[in-house]
């Protein structure tokens, strides 16, 4: 992944949290492009339109949640329709351990982080992917 051409997608219904995550990313990667979606439905449209490299995904959202978002991407890869393989970081307020584990085991998910997201956590994760 190239620092200059990196494209992030934030899928999160809470405007404040979206803003915070956006600030984190802009601070870490000032030259990156950051796209925002308020729910999974908007997120999936942006996914197809912009082909992001890294997605920060909330689970509980109106209209369409993170679960369905992941379902669509997994089905698309399963049927060999999708070529773009973004790294997905789930950022969630879910506290139930079993639920968190089942999200973490999903094929499309690279990492699961509990809310509130700390910038250092994000930094150390992204450093592995972006030289």
């Amino acid at each position: 992944m190239n620092k200059q051409s990196i494209r992030f997608l934030i899928v999160e219904d809470d405007e404040m949290i979206r803003l915070i995550h956006k600030d984190f990313l802009r601070d870490l990667y000032p030259e990156s492009e950051i796209i925002e979606a308020e729910n999974g439905a908007q997120g999936i449209c942006h996914y197809f339109e912009s082909q992001p490299n890294i997605i920060l995904l909330d689970m509980m959202m109106p209209i369409m949640g993170g679960e369905t978002f992941l379902d669509i991407l997994e089905e698309g890869h399963h049927c060999n329709i999708l070529k773009n393989n973004p790294k997905i970081i789930v950022v969630t307020a879910i506290k139930d351990v079993k639920e968190l584990m089942s999200i973490g085991k999903r094929f499309a998910v690279e990492a699961v982080i509990s809310k509130p997201l700390v910038q250092n956590q994000l930094k150390s994760l992204l450093e592995d992917w972006i030289p």
Binding site: Q42, C45, E75
Partner: protein, 128 residues
């Protein structure tokens, strides 16, 4: 190439629709999806002009696809806008009213499908 997408979970029904569509519009390529998730991926990947959409399917219903396209249009995310023909065994007036208020739905057809009506509708939407 111009194309049509059929989203229907029952194999026999899907085949029936496919044969029918190919007869009416032979110049169109026909794509098939047996569930809503695959349907969404094919929509964005192949960008068909027209979608025949079954509403009642296991796990994710046709409503998911309508929701996604409405968000796309409302927030001007993707300029692509297919014509969606919903095929549904509508049981209540509320359901019919709800469907006809959706901005992305071009037509609503009952199930079982009256094929001569579908032929007319396809001719109108595809300008055959």
């Amino acid at each position: 190439m111009n194309s049509i997408l059929i989203i229907e979970d029952e194999t026999v029904t899907r085949m029936m629709y496919k044969n029918f569509v190919q007869e009416i519009a032979p110049q169109y390529k026909v794509y098939e999806a047996e569930n809503a998730l695959k349907g969404i991926c094919l929509c964005f990947d192949k960008r068909p002009q027209l979608i025949l959409l079954d509403m009642i399917m296991p796990e994710h219903s046709g409503k998911l696809i309508i929701d996604i396209f409405e968000e796309s249009i409302k927030h001007k995310i993707i300029s692509y806008k297919p014509k969606i023909i919903v095929i549904s065994a509508i049981e209540t007036v509320e359901e019919l009213t709800e469907l006809s208020q959706r901005i992305t739905v071009s037509s609503v057809m009952p199930k079982p499908l009256p094929f001569d009506t579908l032929a007319e509708i396809l001719k109108i939407h595809l300008q055959l």
